[in-house]
């Protein structure tokens, strides 16, 4: 090995909590950030990695024995630990190539805008990690790094076109002009489309529900601590822990779920000067042109249908996880399924009954995808050392976003003929969705009209 290779190897061996901050520091210096800010930014990232590791270890120590007890007590074996999106994101940022996807997203977006192939400018630089995750997943499954980058590139394009097709609907739902959502989670609408078309024929499903009142009643369940507490309690009882043991487990899971987003915030704080500089750069380039500003989903968080769906699907999700054959995941940190709620909201224009039906029908997809994803995420964590997983242990993300897209394309590049067919069908459905959403009335005008007939 030459001196250069051995230096690189030495740097990689430092572990992600040291190695990735060094990258961020160097990028910061190149981007002419003040030295002090670049240093703090890099240090915060190292703290975030280490903090995440700490919380994951804490949760693992609490939950792993409990799920063993569950298996002994009931015969239901759910060994894969669910870290949710915050855990998945932190592990993904530790991948060597993760930061390359900033460039890929920006270059593709600029080309698409310049050629007028899209009207959307994606300024959501945080979710660049989603592209990195796709690339890693495809690479892990197919063994081809180029295939990973290719599929991630396709994802950038697909997200921009999602932004285009849903813009008028999002403007109607939020009353904010010219914004749209470019988060890949709303790809869930693609497979939901045929079912939603069937539901058009059911008169009951063309009525609007008043969700605001319902949200007030059940809103407390969406708090991380409450959700964690309840899941912990349930797990304790199912594992025959006794009251004291179950209550303790409940508090511990509640603690982990409260701390996850707090630590995740540190990642964001650390990356935000970089993300900011990039989105400013993009905005400046297209200042004189009317573009849709693509952002993360919380712009829709004011819609109570999202929260009601998120909460009501939880018991279904946990129920399925206990009884679906072949599933190895108990939803914990990822228990709120944003893909179903946000994708369902946009597709149905905020029709709660339809969102719930779609939620129930699609929940198994997420459990099986999380089962499939477990060795992949565990592999990445072990390679980069971002998270220490016990020997033989598994980690995953119970509500992995865009699973149909990611897994189908990964399997397709592995040469799985079934998946190649599936990917082709997926693209066809995506094009259909694009046409449907462009032609569809905006949400506030949708259901009343049908009612009057």
């Amino acid at each position: 090995m030459g001196a250069f290779e051995s230096t690189i190897q030495w740097v990689l061996n430092l572990g992600s909590a040291v190695f990735v901050p060094i990258i961020i520091f160097i990028i910061g210096i190149i981007a002419k950030m003040p030295l002090k800010r670049a240093f703090i930014s890099a240090l915060t990232l190292g703290v975030a990695f280490t903090g995440m590791n700490l919380v994951i270890e804490f949760m693992s120590n609490a939950v792993a024995p409990a799920s063993e007890a569950l298996a002994l007590n009931t015969g239901i074996s759910l060994p894969a630990l669910d870290l949710g999106w915050t855990g998945a994101a932190s592990i993904t940022w530790s991948w060597v190539y993760a930061f390359v996807f900033f460039a890929i997203q920006i270059v593709i977006n600029i080309i698409m805008l310049t050629l007028n192939w899209t009207k959307t400018l994606n300024v959501d630089m945080w979710n660049v990690w989603g592209k990195a995750l796709t690339a890693y997943l495809v690479y892990f499954v197919s063994g081809q790094l180029w295939a990973g980058f290719l599929v991630a590139g396709i994802q950038v394009i697909v997200e921009l076109k999602l932004g285009d097709m849903f813009q008028k609907h999002i403007e109607d739902l939020t009353n904010i002009p010219l914004v749209t959502v470019t988060h890949p989670m709303i790809l869930s609408a693609v497979l939901m489309l045929p079912i939603n078309k069937l539901m058009d024929k059911v008169p009951f499903l063309n009525k609007k529900a008043n969700t605001d009142a319902l949200r007030k009643k059940i809103g407390i369940f969406s708090e991380n601590s409450v959700m964690g507490f309840l899941i912990g309690l349930l797990l304790g009882f199912a594992g025959a822990y006794g009251l004291s043991g179950s209550l303790n487990l409940a508090i511990q899971v509640g603690t982990a779920m409260t701390l996850f987003p707090m630590i995740s915030k540190l990642f964001m704080q650390s990356l935000s000067p970089l993300a900011d500089a990039m989105s400013e750069f993009m905005k400046k380039r297209f200042k004189d042109r009317e573009v849709f500003i693509g952002m993360d989903w919380p712009v829709l968080a004011g819609r109570s249908e999202i929260w009601v769906t998120l909460i009501l699907i939880v018991p279904v999700f946990i129920g399925f996880s206990l009884f679906l054959p072949g599933n190895i995941v108990l939803p914990i940190a990822g228990v709120l399924n944003y893909s179903i709620a946000v994708g369902g909201l946009l597709l149905t224009g905020g029709n709660l009954y339809r969102m719930l039906i779609l939620g129930v029908l699609f929940t198994p997809l997420y459990l099986y995808s999380a089962t499939y994803f477990a060795p992949i995420l565990t592999g990445l964590a072990n390679t980069t050392g971002a998270v220490e997983v016990d020997e033989g242990g598994l980690i995953t993300w119970s509500t992995i976003e865009a699973p149909e897209f990611r897994i189908m394309f990964a399997e397709a590049f592995k040469g799985n003929w079934l998946a190649i067919g599936g990917a082709a069908i997926f693209i066809a459905l995506y094009v259909w969705l694009y046409k449907v959403m462009n032609a569809e009335k905006i949400p506030s005008e949708r259901y009343e009209a049908i009612n009057e007939k």
Binding site: L178, V179, M268, A301, R303, S304
Partner: protein, 100 residues
């Protein structure tokens, strides 16, 4: 009264932190010493009593707005900080409140 600017989004992680960091930087450049924090919208009713300025991403419920008014919390939209449209205008109004 409490002196704190909070930014709330769906998880208290990504979007709210982006905006919070932006405001923090702007405050720093303008020599304004004012605490800024990103919080989870799911617990907004617990956060409001310790805040003086609330920057939202999605328009909050009427109930939340009423509570903010009762507590004397000034409410501003956060989207301008993401799109750049109307940013200076919103920022100046926020700065005025910080001087109160």
């Amino acid at each position: 009264m409490a002196k704190k600017l909070i930014v709330a989004c769906g998880s208290g992680v990504a979007t709210s932190t982006t905006i919070a960091e932006k405001i923090k930087n702007k405050f720093e450049n303008d020599n304004i010493d004012y605490p800024v924090e990103a919080v989870d919208y799911k617990s907004i009713t617990n956060e409001l009593p310790s805040a003086s300025i609330y920057v939202y991403i999605a328009k909050p419920d009427q109930e939340v707005l009423d509570q903010a008014e009762k507590l004397g919390v000034s409410v501003f939209p956060g989207i301008p900080f993401l799109t750049g449209m109307g940013l200076e205008d919103t920022y100046e109004k926020i700065v005025e409140v910080t001087k109160k």
